[in-house]
């Protein structure tokens, strides 16, 4: 089944917070969205052209690619309930 939620995380792999951020993000997404999501983690240093092309201005930036329209959060992305913030769950 094709996941309706597609996310892309732009982050610097060699930053100190990389491991923590990515692992916590996966845990949160697994808990809240079960398996119905797709997350691409993109290392900004390894993909500079893509990063600039997408207009990413800061690290980390989490982009909701699907569902449209695209939404973005920046900074301490795990500081708030990003599921609500990015409206990743369909409201009942």
């Amino acid at each position: 089944m094709k996941p309706e939620v597609e996310l892309r995380l732009y982050i610097i792999e060699k930053s100190a917070s990389y491991f923590d951020t990515v692992s916590k993000l996966y845990i949160l997404l697994d808990t809240e969205l079960d398996n119905h999501y797709k997350l691409d983690v993109i290392d900004i240093l390894k993909n500079p052209e893509l990063t600039v092309e997408e207009g990413i201005l800061a690290s980390p930036t989490l982009v909701r690619v699907k569902p449209l329209p695209s939404k973005r959060i920046v900074g301490r992305i795990l500081a708030k309930n990003l599921i609500d913030e990015l409206e990743l769950k369909e409201s009942e």
């Binding site: 207009g55 800061a58 690290s59 930036t61 973005r72 900074g75």
Partner: protein
């Protein structure tokens, strides 16, 4: 200056007498300035040019011109709202005025005019007018204040605009959809988006930044910088938004990182230096123990020749090893403190490599491992180059020593060839090879020393490091190629301009030749302040039936040289009281032809120059090599 308050009045009456009496009544009771018009035409002119506070018009019933005048007044620029009092007959009614006329400002006094009534009406009107005037003044003042406040506000806005525009910190406004609504110049600079600007671009909804925090920012060329960020909740065009301030601290951060790294390297270096010292001390103690130990054993009286010979060989071997280590340490110390001096001269490279070949052909390790040694170089008989022969030899020997050490079987080949303006040397072995990842470490002396000592890395590990430094000092380059399991080739180049290669010079650094010792009855003066050193020399030349004189200092040396007919002087240059140099100079003045060989503690090139300049014929380095001494003595005595 106090302005006189007075009221300006216009009287319109076609009866001159009426005007006179009215004027009199009004002006004697009120502060007024009165204009009079006898006709409508006159009145209109006055109304065009003066602003009045009150206008009186004598009007007749059904008097159309009077009505027209009222209309004219109300349409005028200066007097449109001036109270107009009609002096008229009893039957007049305000309602009889046409609709176009504004009745608010029109009133009337019936004829005949009652003076009291007139005055009362005037008083009432003047009070109102005064109030209005005062009101106008207040209004003007309020206007002034309002204007002043507006100016201040505008100035304040201008200041803030300048602050925002000129601020070196990036200032952005991002709405709740994450879109940048405003950016100052510094902001566009920070993200390197001066071309398109930032407004309208998606930044993203920002989380968790109420206090100051650090954030990685990405510029339009893909560069990553570090920003110090503060966010404040605000409003933009009526909707909630975030004000973001970013300071670019990329340089700071990089500086900090560099500093930390430098500190780490310094600490590492410190640690390695300690390891180096510990290691070196071990390296020195071991052979020294050998020398002392075997010497003690030699002291025993009941030893057979074979045993004695073995002990002696061991002592010589340990001694030489010790000498090597100490020389290496001194080399390193000199290189580190930029004190190593390169002394260039012309020498025959072909002769040198051949000599080295001969030495290695019979090297213990080569023989015991059954290694094949080969030498390759261009087909010439001689090649004289201009470089430091001592150091070039040192480098080649170093590389060969390593090659032989690390090759268990097979072949070690070495030699040189021309490559453009350089001579390219090579030393190739069929040893175990070096992995590519270790290539950079191979020339580092400290790296080797941290590894535990075992058969694989025996030796003091300084050779390659010294070789590299020497190659660089000789303006060359050094590198290696290697394949694990196959072998290693070390290369180094020396710049040598073809012109430098010339015919063989007069003096030859040839192989050590056999000594034709014929020193019988020659008088040799040994100038040496240390007993042990003297006894050594004595032991060496005693067998040759020479007559030995011993001077312990410069004074004695000069005395003996003058008194006796000396054939050769061996002068230690470091002496108490009169120095070797002074002694040599003094001897030279009286006896210029006596050959003098200087003994120097370490064959540093500037020593050589110094002793030759002082007047010596040759020099020999301590510790003295017997063959070399024999050789030199032979030269001067025969």
């Amino acid at each position: 200056m106090k302005e006189d308050v007075y009221y300006r009045i216009l009287l319109v009456n076609n009866q001159k007498d009426d005007i006179v009496s009215l004027r009199h009544v009004i002006s004697s009771n009120f502060p007024v300035s009165i204009d009079a018009a006898l006709s409508q035409k006159e009145a209109m002119v006055l109304i065009d040019y003066h602003a009045y506070d009150l206008i009186f018009i004598k009007i007749y019933n059904h008097d159309e011109s009077g009505i027209k005048l009222i209309e004219y007044i109300q349409a005028s620029f200066l007097n449109s709202s001036v109270p107009t009092i009609l002096i008229t007959s009893n039957e007049f009614k305000l309602s009889s005025l046409p609709d176009g006329v504004n009745q608010e400002t029109v009133d009337f006094i019936p004829l005949p005019i009652q003076q009291n009534e007139l005055l009362r009406v005037l008083r009432l009107y003047f009070k109102t007018i005064k109030r209005e005037q005062q009101y106008k003044v207040r209004l003007q003042e309020e206007q002034k204040v309002k204007h002043a406040m507006e100016v201040e506000l505008a100035k304040s806005q201008e200041n803030f605009k300048n602050i925002v525009d000129k601020s070196t910190a990036a200032i952005l406004i991002v709405d709740n959809d994450g879109i940048i609504q405003f950016s100052n110049q510094a902001g566009e600079l920070l993200f390197m988006r001066e071309q398109d600007g930032l407004v309208g671009h998606q930044f993203g909804n920002i989380f968790g930044f109420e206090e100051r925090t650090e954030m990685d920012i990405i510029r339009s060329n893909g560069e990553v910088g570090v920003g110090e960020v503060a966010t404040i909740n605000t409003e933009w065009k009526g909707k909630p938004a975030k004000l973001i301030l970013i300071n670019d601290i990329t340089k700071h951060k990089r500086l900090q990182e560099n500093l930390m790294e430098a500190m780490k390297r310094a600490l590492d270096s410190d640690r390695l230096k300690t390891a180096f010292l510990a290691n070196m001390s071990h390296e020195i103690r071991t052979p020294l123990n050998g020398v002392i130990g075997f010497s003690q054993l030699l002291d025993s009286s009941d030893l057979d020749q074979e045993r004695k010979h073995f002990y002696v060989k061991s002592i010589i071997s340990c001694g030489n090893y010790l000498l090597d280590i100490i020389n290496d340490i001194i080399d390193i110390a000199q290189i580190e403190s930029d004190q190593l001096v390169i002394s260039k001269s012309k020498f025959d490279l072909v002769a040198m490599v051949n000599e080295i070949y001969e030495i290695y052909k019979i090297n213990d390790k080569v023989v015991s491992k059954n290694l094949e040694i080969t030498l390759e170089y261009p087909k010439v008989n001689t090649m004289v180059i201009h470089s430091d022969p001592f150091r070039v030899r040192q480098i080649i020997l170093n590389l060969l020593s390593n090659a032989v050490k690390f090759t268990e079987s097979g072949k070690v080949s070495f030699g040189f060839e021309w490559r453009g303006n350089n001579i390219q040397f090579f030393v190739k072995d069929t040893g175990r090879g070096i992995p590519q990842s270790e290539f950079d470490n191979v020339f580092n002396r400290f790296q080797q020393l941290e590894a535990p000592k075992n058969a694989l890395n025996e030796g003091n590990g300084l050779g390659l490091s010294i070789s590299r430094s020497l190659v660089h000092l000789l303006d060359g380059t050094i590198w290696l190629e290697s394949e694990v399991g196959v072998g290693t080739t070390f290369y180094f180049t020396l710049p040598a301009i073809h012109n430098d290669v010339g015919p063989m010079p007069e003096e030859q650094h040839s192989k050590v030749s056999k000594v034709k010792a014929s020193f019988k009855n020659k008088k040799i003066l040994v100038v040496e302040d240390e007993e042990n050193n003297f006894y050594f020399i004595q032991a060496v030349i005693r067998d040759f039936d020479t007559i030995i004189y011993w001077a312990k200092d410069g004074e004695e040396a000069v005395d003996i040289a003058m008194k006796e007919d000396i054939d050769l002087i061996l002068m230690d240059m470091k002496l108490p009281l009169k120095s070797g140099y002074d002694a040599v100079k003094e001897i030279r003045t009286k006896k210029p032809q006596i050959p003098i060989i200087a003994q120097t503690a370490y064959a540093m090139s500037n020593d050589k120059d110094k002793v030759m300049a002082a007047g010596c014929n040759d020099y020999i380095a301590k510790p003295i090599n017997v063959n070399e001494l024999m050789d030199k003595m032979n030269t001067f005595l025969n």
